[in-house]
């Protein structure tokens, strides 16, 4: 934990944390009753109700489309005006919010009710300095002296663990990392001391290790300042770890609600049980049994599917040399899954680009299925790519939105002249069926498909030329937990049936533990640890690996239960 908690700072005088057992007047801080929201006739939230006591935290959990963000935005009264119809009752601190005219509600914004958004990189005005925007938050304390406000801002920046607050103050948003921006936003939200903070998936746009630090920071501030938290998330593990109680939403309806430990350990609804089973961190061995057969029977003498030996790649950015990869070696044994792990900037992406022949290494040797990749001509690379296909991270951008699914999946066949033209349509249908999609999607365009369906189409496109190796570049990071589980299920089935070798690129160690047999941990272009997944997870040697492991949410709710 990098954040030093010092509640004696002058600008943030210590306040007495409210007693957890009793509200000031016995009434809950936030009470939502019969909340329904509809957009143009379509009801997206139906009769949702819950209460949140003063100083406590509540997690609203569900997949995308469950209406959890809509609930949050209607409490904040930030739904687009004129497009949505809201009914029900939301009372905060004894005040009914829905009847209030905007003129009377506006003074409560920020002061009583704070908001931490999902994607910090778009949550600050890109053309104004952070300092100038921070003054808007600092002004909510009623402080009229700009110099005092500035001091408040700098001290809250320090409080949320930002190194060099002066520099942050003078920076523009694009000059800071996502983690730093989220610290800025959290700092600005707590600065006016609201009674309630609504955090809408506050970490889903951040790297895993940063996620943990940000959630820790939120928990600390909440405890020290006595702020209540309404946390919106799709991750049951995060919800259980960070909130006192949980409300599970599905299709805009409350499926289940109760204390965290209750919902987590003895879920009563089928959906909550499903959510539990889908979280990678909670089910490390989910796919191990079905994969066991494939990975166990690999002949020892078979050449590896992928071999990278001492690959080095440097980039020149105007005046500085950046060594993206520094003597990196790893192998993927046939029929197994190897994971490349590391944060943004660790060299994962460069390694994949070298493997695909998109870049040439400055030194080292790269072989796929016994054929060398480095120094190949474009014609040679084309042949090679039949053996090596890529499933890209974001299915929302990796499929041409103007093409029909049938054309997308068929394209590699035409490109590589596979089979007779007449056979290709049949092969497309067969592959679509294999990835678990109905034949009816063939005539649709990507825009008409869900995220999970799109990723299945991307997998079908890669699979159709029957490659030996699939490179999976963060294949589920853009998807909800429950959709992720379906994709992972599919990938492990395909591996078993076709003897595929996977190179999994990820920063999510919970996912790696579920899916991979061996793992290489990269940091700043260097291999710092590699070996069998079981061994690395049980006995990490390097501090960096331990930090990555610590980012996996704990397997049981409440503090003091590290990973078994």
């Amino acid at each position: 934990m990098t954040v030093s908690i010092d509640t004696t700072r002058p600008a943030l005088p210590q306040i007495v944390p409210p007693a957890r057992t009793s509200g000031t007047d016995g009434r809950p801080l936030l009470s939502v009753e019969g909340l329904s929201v509809s957009y143009g006739g379509t009801t997206v939230v139906r009769d949702v109700g819950f209460t949140l006591e003063r100083g406590r935290s509540l997690a609203l959990i569900g997949e995308s489309g469950s209406g959890k963000s809509t609930v949050a935005k209607s409490i904040l009264r930030l739904l687009p005006a004129g497009e949505s119809a809201v009914s029900g009752s939301v009372s905060l601190d004894g005040r009914e919010l829905f009847g209030l005219p905007e003129r009377q509600f506006r003074p409560l914004r920020g002061r009583l009710l704070g908001y931490i958004p999902q994607d910090p990189s778009s949550a600050l005005n890109p053309v104004r300095t952070i300092g100038s925007q921070a003054h808007e938050a600092a002004a909510l304390t009623g402080e009229s002296d700009a110099r005092v406000r500035r001091r408040d801002i700098l001290s809250v920046f320090e409080r949320v663990g930002l190194p060099d607050p002066e520099r942050v103050y003078a920076s523009y948003p694009h000059q800071l990392s996502g983690g730093m921006l989220q610290r800025v936003l959290i700092g600005l939200t707590v600065l006016p001391r609201p009674a309630l903070i609504v955090a809408d998936e506050p970490t889903s746009a951040l790297d895993v290790t940063i996620q943990k630090l940000i959630l820790d920071l939120l928990s600390d501030l909440r405890r020290d300042l006595g702020i209540s938290l309404l946390l919106i998330t799709h991750d049951l593990a995060v919800a259980a770890e960070r909130a006192d109680s949980i409300v599970v939403l599905k299709n805009g309806i409350v499926e289940e609600s109760g204390s965290s430990s209750q919902v987590f350990s003895t879920p009563t609804s089928e959906y909550a049980r499903q959510l539990h089973a889908d979280v990678p961190a909670l089910n490390p061995d989910r796919y191990r049994i079905q994969r066991g057969a494939a990975s166990g029977t690999t002949p020892a003498d078979a050449s590896p599917a992928v071999e990278v030996h001492a690959a080095t790649k440097r980039f020149r950015a105007r005046d500085v040399d950046v060594t993206a990869l520094d003597g990196v070696s790893f192998t993927v044994a046939r029929g197994t899954t190897h994971a490349l792990v590391g944060e943004s900037g660790s060299g994962k992406t460069t390694a994949v680009r070298l493997l695909l022949g998109l870049e040439q290494p400055d030194a080292g040797r790269i072989e796929v299925a016994g054929t060398q990749v480095h120094g190949q001509t474009s014609v040679g690379l084309r042949g090679l790519r039949r053996h090596l296909q890529l499933v890209y991270q974001n299915p929302f951008t990796s499929l041409d939105p103007t093409w029909r699914v049938s054309k997308i999946v068929r394209e590699p066949l035409d490109r590589f002249h596979v089979g007779e033209r007449a056979d290709r349509a049949r092969l497309v249908e067969q592959t679509i069926e294999e990835v678990g999609l109905p034949a009816s999607v063939l005539s649709r365009r990507p825009g008409q498909l869900s995220g999970g369906q799109r990723q299945r189409v991307a997998i079908a496109r890669a699979l159709i030329v029957r490659p030996d190796v699939l490179v999976l570049d963060e294949p589920t990071s853009a998807l909800d937990v429950s959709v992720q589980a379906g994709i992972l299920e599919l990938l492990s089935r395909l591996q078993r049936e076709h003897g595929l070798s996977y190179l999994l690129v990820s920063h999510d160690l919970a996912l790696v533990r579920q899916l991979a047999d061996t793992v290489t941990v990269l940091q700043r272009g260097k291999v710092i640890e590699s070996g069998a997944v079981d061994q690395i997870f049980a006995r990490p040697k390097h501090a960096y690996t331990r930090a990555l492991l610590a980012a996996i949410p704990r397997t049981s709710p409440g503090p003091g239960h590290p990973i078994a």
Binding site: P107, R109, D119, A123, N125, R128, E136, L140, H174, Q175
Partner: protein, 334 residues
């Protein structure tokens, strides 16, 4: 920022100079291939009563007997040193003619530019925030109306209503402040339309960004949100457009000056065209090129100052620092 921005500015300025010179060469060549030689025509006019010898002397003086390439080089040399020659019509120095006409036109075009930006901002704000959906819809169609009514019709309507009916200004004194304002309005209305379209689209986009939501969650009022957060990012793409608009304003000024009876660049151009006054035409075209290129240069130079994201240097530095920071965080695992 400083060094790479300086290099960028220098490069763009050099490009601008080249464009201006090319524009001059282009006009020179076009005029020289036109059939008929206006200077000799004028000299040969029997009314002037010049002998062949005298004509030869004048022609030699102007270098008109030399090959076109030599003439071009001589002419370019004079242009670069600021010598624009003499008007064939009035025998006055061209620089003096332009100098007399320019202030009036610049006042007109400058006022029109400010008005067009103001009109565009008001329309865009109204389209975004008017309480009545109906009024918003009506306002949204205003730019296309502005665009489809010709400049001179607007001018005549304004004169009819404000000069003749309401007596807000008189057409007898076209250089009075009120008359200038209405002339500028005539010029501004069609020009504001594309600007308003761009602003409306950008405001739509920006107000849907998460940062607008976050700012609202801090209790900012609609007007403050608009003024402090949305205007600047919405205007940035319009800066490049304003540069193009200046070109339109210069063109429109000719017509507007005629309608309102103002003496300006428009009048000079009109006379020069009818009398084939080549040095004046050459100078006016070059002036237009200079103005156009300069305004575009300014837009290019100002954009990176207004939009911090366009500054490549700070981004590179930031990336390095960002790597260093995430590093630091990881070295102290929880």
């Amino acid at each position: 920022m400083s060094r790479s921005y300086g290099r960028y500015a220098l490069l763009r300025a050099a490009q601008a100079v080249i464009v201006i010179l090319l524009a001059y060469v282009g006009t020179f060549l076009v005029i020289s291939v036109l059939p008929g030689d206006p200077i000799t025509n004028m000299l040969r006019d029997p009314q002037n009563g010049l002998t062949d010898d005298e004509i030869q002397q004048v022609v030699a003086h102007y270098g008109l007997d030399k090959p076109v390439v030599i003439q071009l080089i001589l002419s370019l040399g004079r242009f670069v040193t600021g010598d624009l020659g003499f008007s064939l019509q009035s025998n006055l120095p061209v620089s003096q003619l332009l100098g007399d006409a320019l202030p009036s036109t610049l006042t007109l075009a400058g006022t029109a530019l400010l008005l067009s930006v103001a009109i565009a901002v008001v329309i865009a704000y109204g389209v975004q925030y008017l309480p009545s959906r109906w009024a918003r819809g009506v306002l949204r169609s205003v730019p296309s109306l502005f665009l489809s009514v010709p400049n001179f019709v607007v001018g005549l309507i304004l004169i009819e209503i404000f000069a003749f009916r309401l007596h807000a200004f008189t057409t007898i004194d076209p250089d009075s402040a009120a008359a200038t304002l209405f002339a500028a309005l005539t010029l501004a209305i069609p020009v504001s339309a594309p600007l308003a379209e761009v602003l409306i689209a950008n405001l739509d986009h920006e107000s849907r960004q998460e940062y607008a939501l976050v700012a609202r969650s801090r209790g900012l009022s609609q007007a403050r949100l608009f003024a402090r957060h949305l205007v600047k990012p919405s205007m940035l793409p319009a800066v490049a457009m304003i540069a193009l608009i200046v070109g339109e304003l210069l063109g429109g000024a000719v017509i507007t000056e005629t309608i309102f009876g103002r003496d300006g660049l428009g009048t000079v151009v009109q006379k020069a065209v009818t009398s084939q006054d080549v040095p004046v035409l050459q100078a006016v075209v070059s002036l237009a090129a200079v103005v156009f290129v300069t305004v575009n240069l300014l837009a290019d130079l100002v954009s990176p100052l207004l939009d911090p994201r366009l500054d490549a240097t700070s981004r590179r530095k930031a990336t390095r620092e960002r790597d260093a920071t995430s590093e630091r965080k990881l070295e102290v695992p929880a």
